[in-house]
Symmetry: C2
Subunit: 352 residues, 2 copies
């Protein structure tokens, strides 16, 4: 069999003989093929990558599994003999209802129909724990983002458009061969009350806070960091928000270690913000895993039972958002190590 | 009812009382809310946008429908009374199997269960025909892309990295307040044989062809254009490929008019390339619609029965790919008008 033992064991745990992989990140993770959005992977004793003729050369160069070039539904017809009589899992969190209907039509019509089994996070769970090579890639992406922030930080000033700050960050990363991990947030003044407002045409004013949330995408792997910086002399109310978030963030980061659960870490930050009367203003979860996807497991949110283990890379990103006033978010990227953690994001957190 | 008549009619045609909208582009199209990836829309007599607390302010500012702030599954519980006894469509091409299972659990447990109905392209079909305002946005995105190409074209030369060409295009668009519509393709020399290879670290050589496929993303709307340019004096073999693709492209563009089908247009280009012995080398479909998504309907591919009508915006993009030798693709962005078409992409197509 061409199937590595760890993958065989994962299929066994899921109770399936094979897995129809439709998540682009999972396809890339398993096969090395970088255009997973236009591909499917049948993970079985003889794994096969399916993609179309636009990618004939690329599939040969990149995929560690043999590829078959066809467009759906010819792909499903080709796979049909290979799945006869098997229990075939599908990724219920990714597969569309329409595609499941096509799998049924192609794989359950014959004399030895496949049994289709709903699965969840079979490969995603494996991806949470990074190999040393993967850690090195995320580390490199974050190091580049730190460099970009250092280069662009002096440019964040009154009179500058939010979108110009974003353009400079993106330009810096592009020049270094990286992409932007997601739409960059640059939220100034009252726009800081929008946790995920991207950069707008708004001109940054004096005595405002500016929240900058961005990451690099390098070699398939992401980084993710947020800094909130002061322009001029923000009000004492804004400074109070900043100190509260920084206190919560540092406490939660300090608690990152193997064995901690996502729920426990979320509670560390949420309880501290609650003590400042800011529980309601912390309108999202504490953090998430980062890797081939910028948002992946484990989940650091209220009541999450996800347990941290060495090799996971997670964000810690408490924030508070006060409509009409503004907001603060501080986010670090953290590697879980054998005896605790290492903070990968190095940009300063002093409110200058 | 808050539901516009055109939407009411679309639901009637689909045989449903309401539609659970999960496609991010469809959510944006219907509601105006720009973060559709983190939202759902219940399109019914009283439409409701569902999103989470990160977007409280943004939903109030952007959505033309009332919003309810909650994370799943609280959203489904809130919607349950509103869908009692109704026929509720879901978007089978977008909805995941796992989410359908959650809809069933929340909406079919009570005494007056909803009937869940698989639908396809109910809203996508409406989106294919652009309003004058939408045409203006795509036109503006393409005009910016043409400007970017004119500015960067002199920089495409032997000794320059592909990724540097991509960075300049992206930087130009960023400075003008736009994003990149998708990962930019810059494929030089033998890499031209990869229809969708993005820009690599490869240094462009002399006497090569360079295929550049890119678009602007402005105000939610995309453009899409490909040019293949010569560096130095490419071989006669490469020039022959270029002339064949240009001939096929211009013939297909000339055939764009109301009433033409996607399959007919694809055949125009495919037959001409076939006459040059290049049918096999044309390894993808002719084109696609462009709007809120960079790839949307109508489909211009072999046997497509999609009929062009005024207001559609489509690409025409034949290409040939010869492993070990190189490739050519030429793509224009075309508006279907009452009496034919208008070419929105203006960059020159001479092989300099
Ligand atoms: Mn984050
Ligand atoms: Mn295109």
């Amino acid at each position: 069999s061409l199937l590595p033992d760890t993958l065989r064991a994962a299929l066994d745990r899921a109770g399936v003989d094979a897995l129809w992989v439709s998540s682009p990140e999972n396809i890339r993770y398993l096969s090395g093929f970088t255009s997973g959005r236009d591909a499917r992977l049948l993970l079985s004793a003889q794994p096969t990558l399916y993609t179309d003729a636009r990618y004939t050369v690329q599939a040969q160069e990149e995929s560690r599994f043999p590829s078959f070039i066809a467009r759906p539904p010819a792909t499903l017809a080709h796979a049909a003999p290979a799945v006869e009589g098997l229990r075939v899992g599908f990724e219920a969190d990714h597969l569309t209802v329409a595609e499941l209907e096509r799998l049924r039509a192609h794989w359950q019509a014959g004399e030895r129909p496949a049994t289709l089994v709903s699965t969840s996070r079979v490969i995603d769970t494996l991806r949470q724990v990074k190999t040393p090579d993967e850690v090195a890639r995320v580390r490199a992406a974050q190091a580049l983002a730190d460099e970009a922030f250092a280069a662009v930080r002096p440019f964040i000033a009154a009179g500058v458009r939010e979108s110009d700050v974003a353009a400079r960050l993106e330009g810096f990363m592009r020049e270094r061969g990286a992409g932007s991990a997601f739409g960059i947030t640059v939220a100034s003044g009252p726009r800081g009350a929008m946790p995920h407002g991207t950069a707008s045409a708004r001109v940054i004013g004096n005595d405002e806070l500016v929240t900058v949330d961005f990451g690099a995408l390098l070699d398939g792997y992401h980084s993710d960091m947020t800094r909130t910086v002061a322009v001029g002399n923000p009000s004492e109310e804004l400074r109070r928000l900043y100190r509260a978030v920084l206190e919560a963030e540092e406490a939660a980061v300090a608690a990152v270690r193997p064995g901690a659960t996502g729920g426990e870490l979320d509670a560390v930050a949420r309880d501290l913000l609650g003590a400042h009367g800011l529980a309601e203003a912390f309108a999202h979860s504490l953090g998430h895993g980062v890797g081939l996807a910028v948002h992946e497991g484990p989940s650091l949110r209220a009541a999450s039972a996800d347990v941290l283990v060495p090799g996971m890379i997670v964000t810690v990103e408490p924030g508070v958002y006060v409509p009409g006033v503004g907001g603060v978010r501080i986010e670090d990227l953290i590697l879980v190590t054998e005896d605790g953690h290492e903070v990968l994001s190095r940009s300063a957190k002093e409110l200058l």
